[in-house]
């Protein structure tokens, strides 16, 4: 937690200079993602079905749903980590490929290599075609962006969970992904650290402009970060197995949003109701 002041400082600096000009080394060419009748079954049990929507370049889409509804499955399909789905997923203008290099994944766990320093872990995300000097410059800039410059030489076990997750985020950004896929990246963090990470993600989005697909089970997180919220779940009108698009709603207001904004209360209640939770 000793780096918290640095984080705040960097954050306020970014806020005061808006609109942020995307930095050349970390900016990405953001890509659209189209889902066309996507479904997934495991051993004959349908988990996802009939998912169709288009995510516009640069958009932040939050994917919300109760646990086990197939949120992560959908995200993994976009990253090319899972090839068992039916239907089509198109990134930009071509179909998703195995371990698609236009995407980068931030996993729920940091998944850092314990024997490598933070710097060397971030390097892992660099594209292969990059020259050594370019790669080093990008890693330095990313470590700066996530506020880990002074921790670069440490091993993952020597830093806190929030820092590890920031390192994981930097590693994903090192690819300059057209689509950044985040699978409940802040789920395991304490409440305060999670809020800081959300602010950091908004900073990163402002600077890189990448398309972000964010899986979360946290309604407030979705409301805080997303342009639109995709709610996955079973439809009441049909009894077919598996989750599908329950609703796809734009979030009113521009980011950064006031966490206590009252105009979001209505939407919040609706989303909680959609998740089967009583909001009162």
């Amino acid at each position: 937690m000793t780096s918290a002041p640095a984080l705040d400082q960097r954050h306020s600096a970014a806020a005061s200079t808006q609109p942020v000009v995307p930095s050349e080394t970390v900016a990405s060419e953001s890509l659209s993602v189209s889902f066309n009748d996507v479904g997934r079954a495991f051993d004959g049990r349908t988990v996802l079905r009939n998912v169709s929507l288009t995510v516009t370049p640069g958009e932040v889409l939050a994917i919300l749903g109760s646990s086990g509804c197939g949120k992560s499955t959908l995200l993994r399909a976009v990253g090319g980590l899972d090839e068992g789905f039916t239907g089509d997923i198109v990134i930009g203008d071509s179909a998703v490929t195995r371990y698609d290099e236009r995407t980068a994944v931030g996993f729920q766990e940091p998944r850092l290599l314990p024997w490598r320093s933070i710097r060397r872990n971030v390097e892992l995300g660099l594209p292969r075609n990059l020259s050594k000097a370019e790669g080093q410059a990008r890693v330095v800039e990313l470590l700066e962006l996530v506020g880990l410059s002074d921790r670069a030489a440490l091993r993952p076990r020597e830093i806190s969970g929030g820092m590890a997750q920031r390192a994981s985020l930097a590693r994903a950004l090192a690819r300059q992904p057209g689509v950044l896929l985040l699978d409940e990246p802040f789920g395991a963090l304490d409440a305060l650290t999670r809020l800081k990470m959300q602010d950091l993600l908004l900073d990163i989005h402002a600077q890189t402009g990448t398309t972000v697909l964010l899986v979360t089970h946290d309604v407030n997180e979705a409301l805080q970060l997303a342009d639109r919220i995709l709610l996955l779940g079973g439809r009441r009108s049909d009894t077919a197995e598996g989750a599908t698009v329950k609703s796809l709603v734009p979030v009113p207001g521009k980011r950064p949003r006031d966490r206590a904004a009252t105009d979001l209360a209505q939407l919040r209640s609706e989303l909680y109701a959609g998740l089967g939770v009583d909001s009162r």
Binding site: E101, A104, F107, L113, W115, R171
Partner: protein, 267 residues
């Protein structure tokens, strides 16, 4: 002892702050045993020299063997056999363990067979080795290599099977596959368990050395054991045992130093 040496700054771990403090602590029990040995053979005179000779007699036996050059010959050839056997067994274990740990096809094809060979108590191979290879240098090194092979094979194989799938998937997600994935994620991840396997294999090597030398040899510590038994030289017998303890511990400690260095880099 510690009060005069320990600096105030390092007060919480005083034993650690003494240079070589761990070694002194570890030497306490052997020194105690030596004292007891001296007590029961010398002043108390509870045993005849043929039952248990005094420590001084064992030392004299060592000096005697040292003077006619036999001691170095025995120790030298035994160490050489252990190192060769351990080396060949460990390399074979690393190679086969890696192959079966990484390839599902090779695993399905070969693991039942290797498992069956492992189920044979290794000393059961002795008669066959005697017939096929003879119990010259080759036969002895082969027997030691068999003893060293299985701990290494088992540790490499199971460690590669159990590399955190999350890390492997993360590696793949960032475009690593094949050899690059192997050297970036899988091999570094198995360094700690492989070293446990290597240390076990080294202990096995000494075990099989003595077995091989007891069976048939004209020099080596195992030969010294059997020869001393036949001649009733309990002093030399005890000397051989003490030497085996010292050599086994020393080689293990050397491997331990390499292990610590490796763990610092890879774990």
């Amino acid at each position: 002892m510690t009060t005069t040496l320990a600096t105030p700054a390092a007060a919480p771990g005083r034993a650690k702050s003494v240079p070589g403090g761990r070694i002194l602590l570890g030497a306490a029990v052997p020194l105690l045993i030596l004292g007891l040995w001296w007590l029961v053979t010398g002043p108390l005179d509870l045993f005849t020299p043929t039952q248990l000779p005094a420590p001084q007699r064992v030392l004299d036996a060592g000096v005697g063997l040292l003077e006619d050059g036999a001691l170095f010959a025995h120790v030298g050839i035994s160490v050489q056999r252990v190192l060769f056997g351990f080396f060949f067994g460990a390399v074979a274990g690393l190679l086969l363990g890696s192959l079966l740990g990484l390839s599902r096809l090779a695993d399905g094809l070969l693991h039942p067979t290797v498992g069956a060979f492992r189920a044979v108590p290794s000393l059961a191979w002795v008669p066959l080795i005697l017939l096929w290879v003879g119990i010259g240098e080759d036969g002895k090194v082969l027997l030691i290599a068999i003893g060293a092979f299985f701990p290494v094979f088992t540790s490499v194989h199971s460690a590669l099977r159990h590399v955190d799938p999350h890390l492997v998937e993360a590696g793949r997600a960032f475009g690593y596959h094949g050899t690059r994935l192997l050297t970036t994620v899988q091999l570094p991840a198995v360094v700690p368990p492989v070293f446990s396997g290597l240390r076990l294999a080294l202990a096995q090597s000494w075990l099989f050395l003595v077995a091989a030398e007891l069976l048939a040899s004209s020099e080596g510590l195992g030969f010294l054991l059997i020869e001393s038994q036949n001649n009733g030289r309990v002093d030399r017998l005890l000397l051989a045992i003490v030497l085996l303890a010292i050599l086994g511990k020393t080689t293990d400690a050397l491997l331990g130093i390499i292990e610590r260095k490796a763990l610092k880099t890879w774990a």
